[in-house]
């Protein structure tokens, strides 16, 4: 009887009996795996499509062509051409006059007030700039393209549905009619939105731009790079090439690995408590942001740099030491240059992380509403991801597409950095 169990014939029978069921299980498992991959890829696609779909229109801006009368009595009634007077003149009135001239039928006060909201409050600033640059315009007439108000912008771009009843729509029927009459005359056009790329933040969606945030990110990243690259490489060199194996270096290692996994917001708390409250460095400054991000990206750079140093074969070191170089010379003349591509790759990846980081910067006040474009590492500023966070919180419909567009710009920078890292790795990859 005992032999029965190890009978090949019996094995074949039992195997064949259950084979179908086992293969169905196999298929199911395989499909489940493929489904998981597909789901992951679907999420990637969904996010990109969603963001590009809502964001691409922000790169265009709706403008309205107005016949402006640069009348002397409104801009400079006394004819002095004094820049102080020119700069504080009532250009908004000039715009309103142009709108009234275009729609003479609008008479009631309420309707007029609505009429004035067709164009952005930024239009007056454009006129002011024109007149300041060229006072000769005063007393002449000209057709000028001025930015439309954000609601009109949304209407023209089709984000506000003209078919829904008036009560459910932000733009009144009357305004739609005005816009349509302007459209018929070819006085409405969508142009490339340079404002978005060059201006600072604004409460008006049509005037808001990422210029300030991009500069803030730039300064922050420069500070981060200047601090984290030398410190990270020096730490890696010390730990990999010089440090004795003892408890102290073990502690340093454990520390670095742990720091890599500490929540980023905790670094923000550190920055707030130490850099701002203790050392009294200015709030909202890229300098402090860069210092906080340095502490955050250091582990990434150190770990990558150590891997790069490890990849340099010991024979190189032995060759240099063999001809009488000191250890320091060996490292700086031979090992470091060979490990440099790997270290740079790690640094770029660290910088990409730093560029996308926002939580710790909220803690150190880089979340303020800042209109001016920062001019240095000590000026108050914000960064691109925080700008996205701020806009995402704004209720205006116009900011939704601005947020998505800012995300597109941010992702564009990140992709660029990662491509750079990949190229660097491919180009200088060396197998020993």
């Amino acid at each position: 009887m005992s032999k029965m169990h190890l009978d090949p014939q019996r094995t074949i029978e039992r195997v064949n009996a259950t084979l179908g069921r086992r293969y169905r299980k196999e298929q199911r498992f395989r499909r489940f795996g493929l489904g998981a991959v597909a789901l992951g890829l679907l999420f990637v696609a969904l996010m990109f499509l969603n963001i590009i779909g809502t964001g691409y229109s922000a790169f265009q801006q709706t403008r309205v062509l107005l016949d402006i009368n640069y009348s002397e009595e409104m801009i400079d009634p006394e004819g002095t051409r004094d820049p102080a007077i020119l700069s504080s003149a009532n250009y908004a009135g000039v715009i309103k006059q142009a709108l009234r001239d275009r729609f003479p039928g609008v008479t009631s006060r309420g309707d007029k007030r609505e009429l004035y909201t067709l164009v952005s409050s930024g239009a007056a600033l454009i006129l002011r700039q024109q007149v300041m640059e060229n006072p000769g315009l005063i007393g002449t007439r000209a057709s000028v393209w001025v930015p439309a108000d954000d609601d009109i912008d949304m209407l023209v771009k089709g984000h506000i549905d003209r078919a829904v009843p008036e009560s459910e729509r932000r733009v009144k029927d009357q305004m739609v009619a005005w816009v349509e009459s302007l459209e018929v005359e070819g006085r409405v056009a969508k142009v490339f939105n340079t404002t978005f790329l060059t201006s600072g933040d604004s409460r008006e969606p049509e005037l808001a731009g990422i210029g300030g945030a991009v500069m803030g990110s730039l300064y922050t990243l420069i500070v981060t790079l200047l601090l984290s690259f030398p410190i990270g490489v020096a730490t890696a060199v010390y730990l990999e090439e010089f440090a004795p194996r003892n408890r102290w270096t073990d502690l340093v290692e454990v520390n670095i690995n742990n720091l890599a996994a500490v929540p980023s917001i905790v670094f923000g708390l550190l920055g707030l408590a130490v850099f701002i409250n203790f050392f009294g460095l200015p709030r909202s400054a890229p300098l402090v942001g860069g210092m906080v991000l340095t502490l955050m990206t250091l582990p990434t750079i150190i770990i990558a740099s150590r891997a790069a140093l490890k990849a340099v074969p010991p024979s190189i070191r032995e060759a240099a030491l063999g001809v009488g170089a000191s250890r320091m010379q060996t490292v700086f003349h031979h090992v470091l240059p060979l490990a440099m591509p790997g270290m740079l790759t790690g640094t770029i990846i660290g910088m990409a992380q730093a560029l996308g980081e926002s939580a710790p910067l909220l803690m150190i006040g880089m979340v303020a509403f800042i209109v001016d474009i920062p001019g240095g590492a000590l000026d108050p500023s914000t960064v691109l991801p925080v700008q996205i966070f701020l806009w995402a919180d704004s209720p205006e419909r116009g900011f939704v597409e601005k947020t998505s567009a800012a995300i597109m710009v941010l992702l564009g920078f990140l992709i660029l950095m990662n491509v750079l890292a990949v190229i660097l790795r491919k180009r200088f990859e060396r197998r020993w």
Binding site: Y23, K25, F29, R30, F32, G33, L34, G35, A36, V37, L39, G40, L41, F43, V44, M47, N50, I51, I231, A234, T235, Y238, F242, A243, V252, N255, N258, L259, A261, V262, P263, S264, I265, V266, L269, L270, L272, A273, V274, F279, G280, I302, S326, M328, A352, L355, G356, E357, S358, A359, L362, M363, P385, I388, A392, V400, T403, L410, L414, N418
Partner: protein, 462 residues
């Protein structure tokens, strides 16, 4: 930006010092043909002189800059009228803020009194004095260092060894920054937390079931201290992390299994990087996606099913956080799955197991410690994640297990308490640090355990 100028001048001086040291070494032995008579290469004498010139000066400058503002602040305070000096610390902080703003020509919150105007002038004067003094002192030290270094240069002087010792110490100092960062984190959150626990008993914080930090607008407002029980916050954090894990673990693990065990090298070569794009997307983008797309989608679909879904539901935040964590789980699992030796697969396939049986009964059990370690790291990440929950989760601390309701998390509260105008020393502000301490401790334990498990696993198969 006069300090930038100062640093540039210092760099110029160091370059000069390098040249002087180098020249002197050559001159002492009588020209470049006699280099052999020098102990070290001439450039090392140059470096040595430059180090003497630059290093002490830079250290002094660093100390000066870091202490300047607090010294100036103290001096300004001592110059204020007594009535203002005796204000409570929080009010005093506001006054000083105003003085600084006034001095810098910014908008000031309150009325400008003559005393404040005087203080602001005082402040500006002190800063200018300090600036000028730092210039003079730093440059003097640099020149003195240069002279000293220059005098050291002699043919028998072991310049290379000295320079290398200095460089070595610089490397050591850099490597301690990691320790100081950890120390800084611990001390900064610990001190503020201790001050918090002086105002709110620690037992109330740890076990309290209610969280409502009152928005005290004025210092003397009644009821400015609310309830500080962290249980609802941690419950909310865990609920969202749990949802995230329920999304990320199956998808991440299964895609790692598929990519490692089933996919052809071709499919793997493009699917893996594409999936890892998810890891490179900034969290603020996920937050935007959660708040503007996923949350309304879930709310509207819930409404169709007759469910009452909050527009800041834990489900939306957790779901999106899960998507964020997928690549994290999948790449860590991929690492450990491919680390399982091929001989295990051969053994299992050799007795006639199917691929899925091999994966489920041999590979996954063998890789389990590594996978668990990876999941722990992912949990720690989910707990510490900030932007997604700040943008998509709620603010009110509900103690609930219903994923369709709104909950709040530790990180959301830290951000809410610290962003915007702060009053120093109020329990509300300090509570953020106490929460930060808890967050740090929990993630630290998770990380240490996870890293330990993963390392043990690696050692087992190497």
């Amino acid at each position: 930006m006069s300090h930038t100028l100062l640093i540039l001048i210092l760099l110029g001086l160091m370059a000069l010092a390098y040249q002087l040291g180098r020249r002197r070494s050559l001159k002492l032995v009588g020209g470049s043909r006699q280099v052999k008579a020098l102990h070290s290469l001439p450039s090392y004498y140059g470096f040595y002189t430059a180090i003497w010139c630059g290093l002490p000066a830079l250290l002094v400058l660093f100390l000066w800059v870091s202490l300047q503002s607090s010294v100036v602040r103290d001096l300004v305070v001592s110059g204020l009228p007594d009535s203002m000096q005796s204000l409570p610390p929080a009010r005093l902080g506001l006054v000083i803020n105003d003085i600084q703003n006034l001095a810098q020509g910014n908008i000031v919150s309150g009325e400008i009194s003559p005393a404040m105007q005087a203080a602001a002038d005082h402040y500006t004067r002190l800063r200018q004095t300090s600036q000028a003094a730092s210039f003079v002192v730093v440059l003097c030290i640099a020149l003195a260092g240069l002279a000293l270094g220059w005098r050291f240069v002699s043919p028998v002087f072991r310049a290379r060894n000295r320079v290398e010792t200095v460089v070595r110490w610089l490397l050591v100092v850099c490597s301690t920054i990691a320790i100081f960062t950890t120390l800084g984190i611990v001390l900064s959150v610990l001190f503020e937390s201790i001050r918090f626990f002086e105002m709110v008993p620690i037992s109330q914080f740890l076990f309290g079931l209610e969280w409502s930090p009152q928005m005290a607008i004025r210092e003397d407002q009644v009821g400015s201290s609310g309830a500080f029980g962290m249980i609802p916050l941690f419950a909310g954090t865990l609920l969202i992390a749990l949802i995230a894990m329920l999304v990320a673990v199956p998808i991440g693990l299964m895609s790692a299994v598929y990519l490692a065990e089933y996919a052809g090298s071709h499919f793997r070569a493009w699917a893996k990087p594409l999936l890892e794009i998810l890891a490179g997307i900034p969290t603020v983008v996920y937050g935007f996606f959660a708040a503007l797309t996923v949350a309304p989608f879930i709310r509207d679909n819930g409404a169709l099913l007759g469910l009452d879904v909050s527009s800041e539901s834990a489900l939306a935040a957790g779901l999106v956080m899960g998507i964020m964590i997928i690549p994290f789980i999948s790449s860590l699992s991929d690492d450990v799955i491919t680390a399982v030796p091929q001989s295990m697969r051969d053994a299992s396939l050799g007795v006639g197991a199917t691929r899925s049986e091999t994966v489920r009964k041999v590979i996954l059990p063998a890789a389990l410690p590594g996978i668990v370690g990876g999941i722990l790291l992912a949990v720690s990440r989910a707990i510490g994640e900030t932007m997604i929950v700040v943008m998509a989760a709620g603010l009110s601390a509900n103690l609930t297990a219903n994923p369709l309701q709104s909950v709040t998390t530790v990180t959301v509260q830290i951000v809410t308490l610290l962003v915007g105008d702060q009053e120093f020393d109020s329990p509300k502000t300090l509570a953020a640090f106490a929460l930060g301490l808890m967050l740090f401790l929990i993630t630290l334990v998770l990380n240490v355990v996870a890293l330990h498990v993963v390392r043990k696993y690696r050692e087992a198969y190497e």
